[in-house]
């Protein structure tokens, strides 16, 4: 089996979306407009920032090569770890099923997406490097040969990044060890090109065009990076042939679900795709007979979360972090809004895990009755666990951090309770949200064009905006509690309206 079969299959696959000439022109126009309206101002702002005095000071700082090394180490380790979830050797589920189960080698069937991933990674890497290089060149801080060497290093680093993601896909356990190893070594100071000449990510930093350095400075690191890329390329076929269909199919299905949910702006559902399933504690009974049914639900939610311990630890860590940020807000009363907003956002993310039962209650309430208790009671019972855990943990952290800093602890605790209530009400509203209403897809004609996308984005990120507002209003409770009370009423109304429309 060779390429004619693959070409024939891809031809059928591509034919499903036969675009007319008009479609192509329309698409080109759309891309041009997006580039002109959305991307050009961002690029211009970045360019002005890079070529400003402050920007050039950063780009020509002594630590700039170390920063490039650190960034490379971070990107490579992320590639290794993310490849375990979504590697570059992936196709849409049905095409993957057809070609990966055919008689052709997987190194042949999956070569194309890996090459594409490497090309995109290199393009991105060269674009970022090219941006800073252009700023250095136009200001006379670097020579053309040094910049060419750096761009070569960026190109190679991009290819290495894509192939490291393939290592993560083909050898997940090994990739985890290497990824954590890179983070550990880089964190312990292994990023300086001068002190760590044998570390590959430091080669990217060594190729950075510092003032006065010639092209020869970039040659050795570039040779090292090229050698590393070649080694990975040599092993690419072997890695592709070692991929099993179970893993490939699972990755493709998950990615397809993420793309589908994201395209309908349903990011909360997209986030659940990669949620870890329960693996522990199946012998512990989650549903127990307690003195009160509320306690039964409280225990059920607690044990349910214990079955995914990593998620639980992360959620508890985020709740504590939220408390730390909130106490910072209460200490620095003059600039309390920013840390309080951060606290609200982190707590909102944490309650996504802690409020898993609340999400379940909202789903059940949206369907025909399942439990022998009312929907309202079910929601209240499932709200108990996230409320008590977040209220107690955030309050305890705030008290612990604020002790000795403020005379009266009542206000920070009041802020905490207000924030927890606001965030949980927002969570309930999010759980009852449902899919994007079709009316938001209708064009909103304005002199600046169709602004329906703004309404869609507001709908998609509404809860995050509410969380930000919750943080801001909680921060000013010492001055006036009115905004927080208004917010509580507002998110309650939103949740109530969605509750009435839940079926």
């Amino acid at each position: 089996m060779s390429t004619p079969q693959l070409q024939a299959a891809i031809a059928i696959w591509r034919a499903r979306k036969n675009r007319t000439g008009g479609d192509r022109v329309s698409l080109a126009y759309l891309l041009l407009m997006v580039a002109a309206i959305a991307m050009a101002p961002v690029i211009r702002a970045l360019w002005l920032g890079s070529t400003s005095t402050a920007g050039l000071m950063l780009l020509t700082a002594d630590q700039a090569p170390d920063a490039v090394s650190s960034l490379t180490a971070l990107i490579w380790s992320s590639a290794l770890l993310l490849g375990r979830l979504r590697g570059p050797a992936l196709l849409p589920p049905f095409l993957l099923y057809a070609v990966a189960n055919s008689g052709m080698k997987r190194s042949l069937a999956l070569r194309r997406p890996v090459i594409q991933a490497a090309a995109w990674a290199s393009l991105l890497s060269v674009s970022v490097a090219g941006f800073s290089s252009a700023a250095l060149l136009t200001s006379g801080h670097a020579g053309i040969l040094g910049i060419l060497g750096f761009l070569g290093a960026a190109l190679t680093a991009g290819i290495i990044g894509a192939l490291l993601a393939l290592v993560g896909q083909a050898l997940p356990r090994t990739a985890t060890c290497i990824g954590i190893g890179i983070i550990a070594v880089a964190s312990l100071g292994g990023t300086s090109p001068r002190s760590s000449p044998f570390l590959p990510w430091a080669w990217a930093g060594a190729a950075y065009p510092v003032e006065g350095a010639g092209a020869e400075c970039a040659l050795l690191p570039l040779a090292g990076l090229t050698a590393l890329a070649l080694v990975l390329i040599v092993f690419t076929s072997r890695m592709l042939n070692s991929l099993n269909f179970h893993q490939l199919g699972s990755q493709a299905a998950k990615w397809d679900a993420v793309v589908t949910f994201s395209s309908t702006l349903d990011f909360s559902l997209a986030a659940t795709v990669y949620r870890a399933g329960p693996r522990f504690g199946s012998r512990i009974r989650a549903v127990r007979t307690c003195s009160h049914l509320a306690m039964t639900f409280l225990v059920r939610d607690a044990i349910g979360l214990l079955r995914t311990p990593v998620r639980l630890v992360v959620a508890l860590g985020m709740t504590i972090a939220s408390g730390v940020l909130l106490s910072t807000a209460s200490i620095t009363a003059s600039s309390a809004v920013l840390p309080a907003t951060g606290a609200a956002l982190v707590l909102y993310l944490a309650t996504g895990v802690l409020g898993q039962g609340l999400q379940h209650a909202a789903h059940v309430a949206a369907d025909y009755p399942l439990y022998g208790i009312s929907d309202r009671t079910l929601v209240v019972y499932h709200a108990l666990f996230p409320f008590f855990v977040s209220a107690l943990l955030v309050s305890a952290t705030v008290v612990a951090c604020s002790a000795g800093s403020v005379g009266v602890l009542g206000t920070p605790v009041l802020e905490t309770l207000a924030l927890v209530v606001l965030i949980l009400l927002t969570r309930l509203g999010a759980a009852l949200k449902g899919p994007l209403p079709p009316r938001l897809l209708t064009p909103i004609e304005t002199p600046a064009g169709d602004l329906s996308i703004v309404a869609q984005l507001a709908w998609a990120f509404g809860e995050l905006l509410l969380a930000i507002l919750a943080g801001m209003t909680a921060a000013i409770i010492p001055l006036t509690p009115v905004p927080a009370l208004v917010m509580i009423v507002y998110v309650t109304i939103i949740a109530a309206v969605r509750w009435r429309k839940r079926r």
Partner: protein, 234 residues
């Protein structure tokens, strides 16, 4: 029944040609235990199926029929024992193995924007390229399953029974010597189950070695193969 014994049907209801003595599928004391929970997914099982024979897997829900098929398809590694097809260890990553064995274990993914015919043609193309044979295989398979008129439909326009037959078409359109089917009768009406049995017997007469897991008494009786009864759920 003891899990390590097989019960062979001595009568050959299909009137198939005499199978060769060599076993195509050799499963020796294979068991599967979940690495996560320690649960036994398949108790120790031995099975030998000769070329051109049909083996029928029977048993309660959870008795390990699907797990056994997954082991044969190289998708699940056995915890103990050995499994060979054509004398070679099974490995679905090996293109030579994939050329021998086709499997329908659960429904395959489907592309919402491809028609039934496109789906079947695409799988056919991965085996026969753009040749006349690819087109012929597509048309023959659709016709065999009574799908000719439904070829222009999209997957979401099919009934659940039609979707099941569609999944079967994606497997039957490709060449194989060993065919593994997991409860292919699901959601099919009695007429379609009879059609399914005919398709299986046609493939058997053509020399394919087939293993079918089924709960359907009608299908099991019609294809009348060697029966392996797996003990109850773990």
């Amino acid at each position: 029944m003891h899990p390590e014994t097989t019960r062979s049907n001595t009568s050959d209801a299909a009137g198939a040609k005499t199978p060769s003595a060599a076993a195509v599928i050799e499963l020796e004391r294979v068991s599967v235990t979940s690495a996560d929970t320690g649960t036994t997914l398949l108790a120790s099982t031995t099975l030998r199926v000769r070329a051109g024979q049909v083996a029928v897997l029977r048993g309660e829900n959870g008795s390990g029929k699907t797990t056994l098929l997954r082991v044969l398809a190289g998708r699940t590694a056995p915890s103990t024992g050995s499994v060979r097809i054509w004398g070679r260890p099974v490995d679905e990553r090996d293109p030579a193995f994939r050329r021998h064995a086709a499997a329908m274990i659960g429904l395959h993914p489907m592309a919402p924007d491809l028609t039934v015919r496109d789906h079947v043609a695409l799988v056919s193309a991965t085996w026969y390229g753009t040749s006349e044979r690819a087109l012929r295989a597509t048309e023959t398979t659709l016709e065999e399953l009574g799908f000719t008129a439904l070829g222009k439909k999209f997957p979401n326009e099919l009934s659940s029974g039609q979707t099941q037959l569609f999944g079967l078409a994606l497997v039957l359109v490709r060449p194989f010597e060993v065919l593994l089917l997991d409860e292919p009768e699901q959601r099919l009406d009695p007429g379609r189950i009879a059609l399914l049995a005919d398709v299986i017997l046609t493939r058997r007469r053509a020399g394919a070695t087939i293993v079918v897991a089924t709960h359907s008494e009608i299908l099991a009786r019609r294809i009348a193969g060697q029966t392996l009864l797996l003990p109850g759920a773990a």
